[in-house]
């Protein structure tokens, strides 16, 4: 289990517990459930890299304690 911090810099910072072999899509669903938005509206980025839904967190080397930028489309 890892905990990933998502920050949208608008006053919301969420820690999400997940697995490294979860896909970004799954992660988005988790995140969406946690913050109460629909997962389709969530865009995750790290700098200028937008994470794609079908790739796992582990592949993006998102580990325990990493933070991800959270945007809303």
């Amino acid at each position: 289990m890892i905990e990933v911090t998502c920050n949208d810099r608008l006053g919301k910072k969420v820690k999400v517990k997940c697995e490294p072999d979860d896909t970004i899509g799954d992660f988005k669903k988790l995140l969406a459930a946690q913050i109460g938005t629909s997962p389709e509206k969530i865009v995750l980025k790290k700098w200028y890299t937008t994470f794609k839904d079908h790739i796992t967190l582990g592949d993006y080397e998102i580990g325990n304690g990493s933070s991800v930028e959270l945007y809303y489309s």
Binding site: K15, K17, P20, K29, T56
Partner: protein, 702 residues
């Protein structure tokens, strides 16, 4: 702290969420953040998570399982590593293990290599440092006996000699094997890419080299020899031939290399080697059988013979003997003798005697001679022989034939000298065969034209006598002059030796002569005939109106009168002076008075004369004709005169080109005059002139 407002849910909640989403529950590795509180209480977990929404792992797992997700992994589960675990952690772990194993392998390999290297180094060093074995130079040898050493030395020497000999023999053998004798036998069957004739008489000294051939292509042909110089020469010749652009159209088709091919000039030379000649060397290094020597030579000779054109037009080739005409410079005009008619006749008879049999003989001699004979009679180009006058056509033709024959003989004798030398080797019959082959008959436009012109030749006059006449200009006021023409005229009663001129005279009234050309006017005695000749030749203006003639007569009369009057006046004055002297008038006068008197008399005479002349000039009508002459003495017409004056006035002549043109015109005029006055044939006879005079396009020939 930093995570004041960090929203976070507990693992349990997360797991529930995950379960709802269809995800496997989180794997909690011995609840990481709170390992110590892991087993103590589920509430501890709740307190630990910031928002207190975390649930215990067991719960989460249960939840997860209930939701269909796989349970979170805990330390307990991860402890027993099942191989078929495909989870991320397991993979990671395996990867790490692999990595470690790989590293270890590498390490081990490296170490082994190092050890090997060390070993090798050690061995090498041992090798290096090993002591050299055997005897040194300074070491004592086994045979310390001098005698033994000498014996050994002898043996050694023998051995060395044998070795050297053997080496030498071996080397020689090797060389011999490599350098097999290359004799003429090796040349057998080699092709030489030249005609035997090309090599010529220098055949002994020529150096033949192997010809370049294609590496891939030349499969059927073996090696070929050639002489570089000859090849070069033939190439050059070919090039020059190409440069010499031959006329495409050959109306008679008598080109020898035409071969009857159609439009052969467009033919591509597909295989240049096909046409090339060659011969093959045999065992002895000479030419082999294919073209036997004798036959080849024979062929060459016959070819040469064929190539000598025996043209029937004998007039053309150079050489004085050949010409039917004698060079004008060599002509000596004999002073005519008194008894010319007689001698002439005799000569003619003699000529008959001499020439006729010869003629027969010639006709019998060979085909070529016969053809020649025919030709010579066909074209009766007149011959000027002054000593003899040929009365008959037969005589003439016979004489001509002899002359030509002599010329031909001379020509022939010159050329085939070396040819004959070759022929001597051949059998006589070959020669005969060659000679009997018909030579080419050359008929060109001129001969054809002449042939058609002279068809009714035997009934015709011969222009020769006339020609003679114009050449020998008779003095008009010496009636006794017996030039050729005159004699002929006089001797009309002689049956046989009737001069052709006389015949002409008889025929003269015919309007159109047999040649279609105008008859020539002979110059008889006096200026009149000369004038008429000149007039006929357009050299003198024929348009003389009677009025001008009358004027001229008047003028002449006037001048005569003037002369007479003057003479009369002179005599009168002289008579007067004489009278005065005789009368003794002067005796009483002083010198001065005498002078006075003479002056007075002169004056009186002058006035008298003037009065008379005035009377004479009363009916004088001067015929004014302004004539301008240029620097060459030619009369200029109005236009030319104007130009000339203009140039004089402005001090500037016409340009170079115009001047040249003018000069050329003058030259042409002069030439024309000279030609028509001096040419014995007289241009009167030319077709062009006649046509011009009669103002028709052509001349009717009969």
């Amino acid at each position: 702290m930093a995570n004041d407002n960090v929203e976070e849910i507990s693992i349990e909640e997360t797991n529930a969420l995950r379960a709802k989403l269809g995800l496997k529950p989180l794997r909690v590795t011995a609840p990481p953040p709170p390992p110590p509180t892991e087993s103590t209480a589920k509430s501890a977990a709740k307190t630990d998570s910031g928002d207190g929404e975390s649930i215990s792992i067991e719960e989460t797992n249960r939840l997860r399982i209930a939701m269909g997700l796989k349970p979170l992994k805990t330390e307990t589960t991860s402890s027993k590593v099942d191989e078929d675990d495909n989870s991320f952690d397991a993979q990671e772990r395996r990867a790490a293990e692999n990595w470690k194993k790989h590293q270890e392998d590498e390490e081990r390999k490296k170490r082994r290599l190092e050890i090997k290297e060390k070993l090798r180094k050690g061995q090498e060093r041992a090798e290096r440092e090993r002591k050299l074995e055997g005897k040194g130079l300074a070491d004592e040898s086994d045979d310390d006996d001098a005698k033994a050493w000498i014996k050994g030395a002898k043996k050694r020497q023998k051995k060395a000699l044998a070795q050297i000999e053997k080496d030498l023999r071996e080397r020689e053998e090797e060389e011999a094997r490599l350098r097999k004798d290359y004799t003429s036998k090796d040349l057998a069957g080699l092709k030489v890419g030249h005609d035997l004739g090309e090599l010529g008489e220098t055949i002994d000294g020529t150096v033949l080299t192997l010809k370049d051939s294609e590496i891939l292509g030349g499969d059927d042909e073996g090696d070929e020899l050639e002489n570089a110089g000859l090849v070069e020469r033939s190439k050059l010749k070919e090039r020059l031939d190409l440069k010499k652009r031959k006329p495409d159209y050959n109306p008679y088709g008598d080109d020898e290399d035409a071969d009857g091919e159609i439009l052969s000039k467009y033919d591509d030379e597909i295989d240049p080697n096909k046409k090339r000649k060659f011969f093959v060397l045999d065992d002895s290094g000479s030419m082999a059988a294919p073209p036997p020597k004798s036959i080849q030579r024979q062929q060459a000779i016959s070819e040469k013979l064929k190539k000598i054109p025996i043209s029937l037009d004998i007039m053309k080739p150079a050489g004085e003997e050949q010409s039917d005409y004698i060079d004008p410079s060599t002509i000596k005009v004999k002073k005519p003798k008194k008894k010319k008619a007689r001698t002439q006749r005799r000569v003619a008879e003699e000529d008959d005697d001499i020439f006729l049999p010869e003629d027969v003989a010639i006709n019998g001699s060979s085909n070529a001679g016969g053809a020649m004979d025919i030709d010579s009679t066909a074209e009766t180009k007149p011959k000027k022989v002054f000593e003899q006058s040929f009365v008959d056509d037969e005589d003439l033709s016979a004489a001509l034939t002899i002359q030509r024959r002599a010329a031909l003989k001379k020509q022939k004798a010159l050329k085939p000298e070396e040819l004959a030398k070759k022929l001597r080797e051949e059998a006589a019959d070959d020669m005969k065969v060659d000679e009997e082959e018909a030579p080419g008959l050359v008929i060109d436009e001129t001969t054809e034209f002449v042939g058609s012109l002279q068809l009714p030749v035997h009934t015709e006059r011969r222009p020769q006598a006339a020609a003679v006449k114009t050449e020998v200009k008779p003095e008009p006021d010496s009636p006794g002059a017996d030039s050729e023409g005159d004699v002929a005229m006089g001797s009309t009663d002689f049956g046989r030796s009737v001069s052709p001129q006389a015949e002409v005279k008889k025929e003269a009234p015919a309007e159109i002569t047999s040649t279609g050309l105008e008859e020539e006017v002979t110059i008889g005695v006096g200026v009149g005939s000369m004038l008429s000749m000149l007039r006929q030749r357009n050299l003198v203006d024929t348009a003389m109106d009677p009025e001008s003639h009358q004027k001229m007569q008047e003028k002449e009369a006037f001048l005569a009168k003037q002369r007479v009057a003057k003479a009369e006046a002179d005599t009168k004055a002289r008579a007067a002076r004489e009278r005065d002297r005789k009368s003794g008038k002067f005796d009483k006068m002083s010198a001065r008075e005498k002078e006075e008197y003479a002056r007075y008399e002169n004056k009186m005479r002058d006035t008298q004369e003037a009065r008379e002349s005035a009377a004479r000039f009363k009916d004088y009508k001067p015929d004014v004709k302004i004539e301008h002459k240029d620097e060459y003495g030619r009369t200029m017409n109005q236009k030319e005169a104007f130009k000339y004056l203009s140039h004089q006035f402005h001090g500037k002549g016409s340009g170079k080109q115009k001047t040249e043109k003018k000069l050329k015109k003058i030259e042409d005029d002069k030439k024309r005059m000279a030609a028509s006055s001096l040419n014995p044939e007289g241009l009167v006879g030319t077709i062009a002139d006649t046509a011009k005079k009669s103002r028709t396009a052509g001349v009717r020939l009969m």
